[in-house]
Amino acid sequence: MSEKNSLVREVAEKKYEYGFTTDVQTDIIEKGLSEDVVHFISQKKGEPDWLLEFRLNAFRYWLTLEQPTWGHLKMPPIDYQDISYYADPTKSGNSGMSRNSGEIDPELMKTFDKLGIPLEERMALAGTAVDAVMDSVSVKTTFREKLREKGIIFCSISEAVREQPDLVREYLGSVVPYKDNFFAALNSAVFSDGSFVYIPKGVRCPMELSTYFRINARGTGQFERTLIVCDEDAYVSYLEGCTAPMRDENQLHAAIVEIVVKERAEVKYSTVQNWYPGDSEGKGGVLNLVTKRGHLRGANSRLSWTQVETGSAITWKYPSCVLSGDGSQAEFYSVAVTNNYQQADTGTKMIHIGKNTRSIIISKGISAGRSQNAYRGLVKVASTADGARNYSSCDSLLLGSKCGAHTFPYMDVHNETAVVEHEATTSKISEDQLFYCNQRGISTEEAVSLIVNGYAKEVINKLPMEFAVEAQKLLGVSLEGAVG
């Protein structure tokens, strides 16, 4: 019996390769949420008064809100007093002081190595700078000096608060105000770490910037906050990756990402989200409740969101674009895979305000097992947005007959010259297709992987190369055991 159990565990673990924990001394505050906790976090990070004020306002506002229930999700109740809001795995206990002096706990270095994210610059992926965040603290940011030569600021948001207070103060909360929604208010009150990026006027960032988020400590929530400001005529491509250990209980991840894009600037933001999805019976997994938004402030600015979502027990996420600048262009490319008991309610909002603004939405949902996968999107055209155009295409692919795919497209158009198009399809992998592959010597699992990757190709191709290869493998692994 025990042999059988260990076999079962082996199979389960094979499916989620990142389920290990790192044994490091972690400084965790007691569970619970109160103004004291908000004070504690702010103090721990040595923050100025205005930021403490911002946090407290958010916290007080959050107390007046109820958790939203409109998602097509069966959300387990979250006890916000049963979560620890700060966990610091770095030895010094004070993130900013020693973290770039080379005194990183070798265990942490090993963890990120194991995740394929080497923190030593000589070993790094060519052309990629990384900010590595574990639990509430940024462990290391690579290539900072090299980027600084071009005037680019890439650091943890905690450091940015200390070193670039004016920039942070100007933009923090300017795209996602703390009053935006329940989880945005919570994040604004207790956010711990995340990345800050500033690309100065006319600078094309010479390397990919990326943040790798890792949850490690038990019973904690991760509240990351990322702020990207791309000044006039500048360009940056930013990548985000996420993993967490396998745990029987749910873990909360409530993040905010804000992006400001000025005149003629361009930002590409890519995510490969592989948080622990829970086991095959739906136990455990990360609750990924995220607010991401970009503001295309300048004329002819561009922003594209590309996401490959394979992990998390629950995904509630709508990376959105506010197209204020005339002639600005926004894109949203998404692949969301759900298997077993995973649930995803994800999509985007495109808010057209400026003239001749354009947006594209390409969403590919893949559902297997007993999972539920919903696309939810809003295309809004304000009366000012003469000549606005949107094209949306939402495809769903079903594997098996116990899963669900849902599409909730909303359109709100207030300008007669606007053109808004929406297309949707639902398809199923047929037995005949799988048998045809089998007869040519291709196993069913490999056939599913081939077909799914073919289906998601349009989105995967938008990812930077190394990420694309990784994402392809991930699609296959996430759907293991989904058919047959």
């Binding site: 089998n438 007869q439 010597g441 291709i442 490999e446 073919g454």
Partner: protein, 250 residues
């Protein structure tokens, strides 16, 4: 060598094959003729392990191995290839990726490393020319938007790539015009080796004019009722099948 003994098979509980005996030696081409519903396609599907058919009795031995105990992909790796009557479309999967997955799966089964990309593309070009398959088609998704004739040519192209020991052509002639039939049949003949064998399932003589079977069987109501040389096919072309039907036991 393929040896089928007293094979019975059902689909949805209905018995279609009622005791098939058939031996195909290396290098032989066998033709199986018969009317619609006689069980010809069932026989080919059972040989390659289609999950929709249930074998209730009998055995199939392939080169000494119990074929019925192998998964469909293992049967493919063991050198059995079916040219489908109606090849399915697989949108989004390019012919190149599909063929590479198939070829490398077979190589893995044989304990070989995956074929280097350069060699693979060269092989694709080489084999494509044998069946005069347009390069535009191999860059498309599997069978997507192919005409009927192109799909059949694509089947023979895949056979060329995988070099099976036994090929089953399931009504490869259906839906082909005279020119397409010639290209497909000549392609098939070019690919034949002394040790490879084939089972050709057809209603008509015309494909057999090209493929020149060694042995011809007539399948009626789930049983092989007559076996003969190539002259049997000609006889059927002239006289039809009625004279071969066994009188009802009543």
């Amino acid at each position: 060598m393929l040896e089928i003994r007293d094979l019975h098979a059902c689909i949805n509980g209905k018995e279609i094959l009622k005791g098939i005996n058939l031996t195909v030696r290396d290098g032989e081409v066998h033709a199986i003729m018969g009317l619609n519903g006689a069980g010809k396609s069932t026989l080919s599907n059972v040989i390659v392990g289609h999950p929709g058919y249930e074998v209730t009795e009998g055995s199939i031995i392939w080169d000494g191995k119990d074929l019925l105990s192998l998964k469909p992909e293992e049967r493919a790796h063991e050198g059995i290839f079916l040219s489908f009557q109606q090849p399915v479309e697989i949108p989004g999967v390019s012919m190149v990726n599909f063929m590479r997955a198939a070829l490398n799966a077979k190589r893995k089964y044989q304990g070989l490393e995956p074929m280097p990309a350069g060699d693979f593309l060269k092989l694709m070009r080489e084999k494509r020319s044998i069946v005069e398959l347009d390069s535009k088609l191999t860059s498309r998704s599997v069978n997507e938007g192919f005409s009927g004739g192109e799909k059949k040519r694509n089947e023979i192209f895949q056979m060329a790539m995988l070099e099976p020991k036994l090929t089953i052509l399931d009504e490869t002639d259906s839906g082909l015009d005279v020119d397409a039939l010639r290209v497909v049949a000549e392609g098939f003949n070019k690919l034949r080796k002394p040790e490879t064998s084939a089972i050709v399932i057809t209603h008509y003589q015309r494909l057999l004019d090209y493929l020149k079977p060694d042995i011809v069987h007539v399948l009626i109501d789930g049983r092989i009722v007559k076996t003969g040389g190539p002259e049997l096919a000609t006889e059927i072309e002239n006289k039809g099948f009625d004279w071969l039907k066994t009188p009802s036991p009543l």
